[in-house]
């Protein structure tokens, strides 16, 4: 069992997945762009993006998933404008984003806009084919009266994840007309639990994932200071206390590598990543490194793209040599962020 980071093994694991995803990934067909983002961004963190032989194929594929306004009646599907998870609706491959007829049931999903845009950015695309106005207009239909966001039009679950996606998309497009920021901030603040961390919604249990989404959303909106100072102190303490060797996502749960990013990045954005024991983070993550490449959530489990990506990001935050620095607010390397750079300076 290696005690150091085996970068080449991870690169091969990722390239293998980019080549073909096994049948068991059928259940992620409706989350495919997100899956691709974990893989592509991981390669970027590893400094191995050049191993993708045909990046233009990726760019074309992602652009073909953009949902544009209907060519004859742009108001007909305005609420669906945005991005698909995969071609499962049966839309024709349209990488040039040519005007086309759109169907009323061809649904936008806000997470796919977020991860789709990030893939484009990482691969060096300039967003010239992105229909910003259509996206921000479609986004409006997703925000609820309590300030939270659902993810698809026509009704879905609503929680902290999608506020983050909406903020990240708005930040990337430099257009905040799709969000009522005050309402969003209200929802976030009302989701701070008695423990100090942030839950998926008011009165739910404080959780590492929702804490990241809340903190990063506030950061991107430039509204971190809306957290009252005493609450901020509690939040910092809650995050630090989630480190048990690796990190747990909630009090009394077992450690899981993905929280090395969710919690690590939250603390980074709050200015206090240095309060963590980085040697212990590395020790736990490396114990979850798979012999075939990739990382799993805990030792001796199967590796997957999400935990691979999150573990690499968590290690990078801890200062691991040979990994790209992470823009914690947006969710890609600083190299990819470039001029956008959302993270506060270290």
């Amino acid at each position: 069992m290696a005690e150091h980071l085996e970068k080449e093994k991870h690169t091969r694991f990722i390239l293998h997945m980019l080549n073909v995803l096994p049948q068991k990934y059928e259940g992620l067909d409706s989350n495919k762009v997100t899956l691709m983002y974990f893989l592509v961004s991981s390669l970027d963190v590893l400094g191995e993006l050049h191993r993708i032989k045909e990046p233009q194929h990726f760019i074309d594929y992602i652009y073909s998933l953009q949902i544009l306004p209907d060519k004859d009646d742009p108001d007909k599907n305005w609420f669906n404008c945005g991005w698909r998870a995969s071609p499962f609706f049966g839309n024709k491959f349209n990488p040039c984003c040519e005007p086309t007829s759109l169907h009323q049931h061809d649904q936008n999903h806000i997470t796919m806009i977020y991860t789709g845009l990030l893939i484009l950015r990482i691969l060096g695309d300039d967003f010239s084919k992105v229909s910003t106005k259509a996206i921000t207009r479609g986004m409006k239909t997703l925000q609820l009266s309590d300030g939270s966001f659902s993810c698809v039009p026509g009704g879905s679950e609503n929680d902290m994840r999608f506020i983050y996606c909406a903020c990240a998309v708005s930040f990337m497009l430099n257009d905040w007309s799709g969000i009522d920021q005050d309402l969003a901030v209200d929802f976030i603040l009302s989701s701070l639990s008695y423990e100090g961390g942030v839950a998926q919604g008011p009165y739910q249990e404080a959780h590492g994932g929702s804490t990241y989404c809340a903190v990063a959303a506030l950061h991107l909106m430039g509204r971190i200071d809306s957290i009252p100072p005493s609450q901020k102190d509690l939040l910092i303490q809650w995050c630090v206390e989630r480190q048990i060797t690796g990190f747990q996502g909630r009090i009394n749960k077992i450690a899981d590598t993905c929280y090395s990013f969710w919690i690590g990045a939250s603390l980074y954005l709050l200015g206090h990543h240095k309060l963590l024991d980085t040697a212990a983070i590395k020790g736990y993550s490396i114990s979850c490194q798979s012999a075939v490449g990739g990382f799993s959530k805990w030792p001796d489990a199967n590796p997957d793209p999400l935990h691979t990506y999150m573990s690499l990001c968590g290690l990078s935050l801890g200062g691991e040599e040979g990994l790209g620095k992470i823009d914690c607010g947006i969710g890609c390397t600083e190299r990819a962020s470039g001029a956008w750079l959302s993270s506060s300076s270290r």
Partner: protein, 301 residues
């Protein structure tokens, strides 16, 4: 997931003979292709066809169930299913049975819990919900979706009366179940408005659980949470108890942690000095993985 052995290709089903399947178009250079099974591809081909013609029939409803079987996370399948349920004025009690059956085998699927919420809301029938969430929590006592659904049901249908007892029964089984502690906080906040009487009761409750397992962080977080918007000084018995615990449970970091908060509120030179000593003890001995935090904390006192 294995291909269902009872699966009949759609081309062999007379009911579907009038429908032309629509294939997925991945373009000339597919990226990250998923190795779909024949069942998956076939089912999706017909689902695409049905959606494109906006058909909302019995057979379409059954088809959404087959899509859900191959990919229960396909949000468009759930959305479309709901359109059909409306169009057919489908019996929602039957739908509740369906979603219950699917929910048991997919306990962490967001779309299934959301669909359940919609069905319960539309039918205004919450009679099964406490029992259902309780049975899901028996399988996994910290299932986040189950707790969220339970909170929604309780609030929407005013089902508060037994909830504190329910959390108590869970805590007797596992006093480290942080979700149950959180649920307790939910009830005393929303139903009891954090009244002073209730707070006093809950302080005693938390302390009783601390005595059972002093290193269990949940009751400590809960205890601290009870003081939101209140002063430790208003409950002097807390400090007395903490000082007593400090000498009794010598390896427990949470006692010193809370004492630091209490002393910081009290203020004064002696207290500041003591609090900083506690920070040092935590950093060096009792909570060394968080050493950097305690050193930082000491500077801020």
């Amino acid at each position: 997931r294995m291909t269902d052995d009872t699966f009949i290709p759609f081309a062999d089903r007379p009911l579907w003979s009038d429908v032309t399947p629509i294939l997925q178009d991945e373009g000339p250079n597919p990226v990250c292709p998923i190795a779909y099974s024949a069942q998956f591809a076939d089912t999706m081909n017909y689902f695409r066809a049905i959606m494109h013609r906006d058909e909302k029939s019995e057979r379409a409803l059954q088809l959404t169930a087959e899509v859900i079987q191959v990919n229960s996370a396909n949000y468009t399948a759930w959305y479309y299913r709901r359109l059909i349920l409306d169009a057919l004025k489908y019996d929602l009690s039957k739908e509740l049975d369906y979603i219950t059956e699917i929910g048991r085998t997919n306990p962490k699927n967001y779309q299934i819990w959301q669909h359940r919420k919609v069905v319960v809301d539309k039918s205004r029938n919450a009679t099964q919900e406490l029992a259902f969430t309780a049975s899901m929590l028996e399988e996994d006592s910290k299932n986040y979706h189950a707790w969220a659904h339970r909170q929604w049901v309780i609030e929407t249908f005013n089902l508060w009366s037994e909830e504190l007892n329910y959390t108590d029964s869970l805590l007797r089984q596992d006093l480290r179940n942080n979700s149950a502690w959180n649920q307790r906080y939910f009830v005393i906040s929303k139903h009891f408005s954090l009244s002073e009487d209730k707070i006093r009761d809950e302080i005693q409750y938390a302390i009783s659980y601390i005595k059972k397992a002093p290193n269990n962080q949940s009751p400590w977080a809960y205890l601290k949470g009870l003081f939101k918007g209140r002063k430790y000084a208003d409950f002097p018995e807390l400090k007395t108890t903490l000082v007593e615990f400090k000498d009794k449970y010598v390896t427990c970091p949470h006692i010193l942690s809370l004492l630091i908060d209490v002393l910081s509120e009290e203020g004064g030179d002696e207290n500041t000095k003591t609090a900083k000593q506690y920070c040092a003890e935590l950093a060096e001995r009792l909570d060394s993985i968080h050493a950097k935090y305690w050193k930082y904390r000491a500077q801020r006192i």
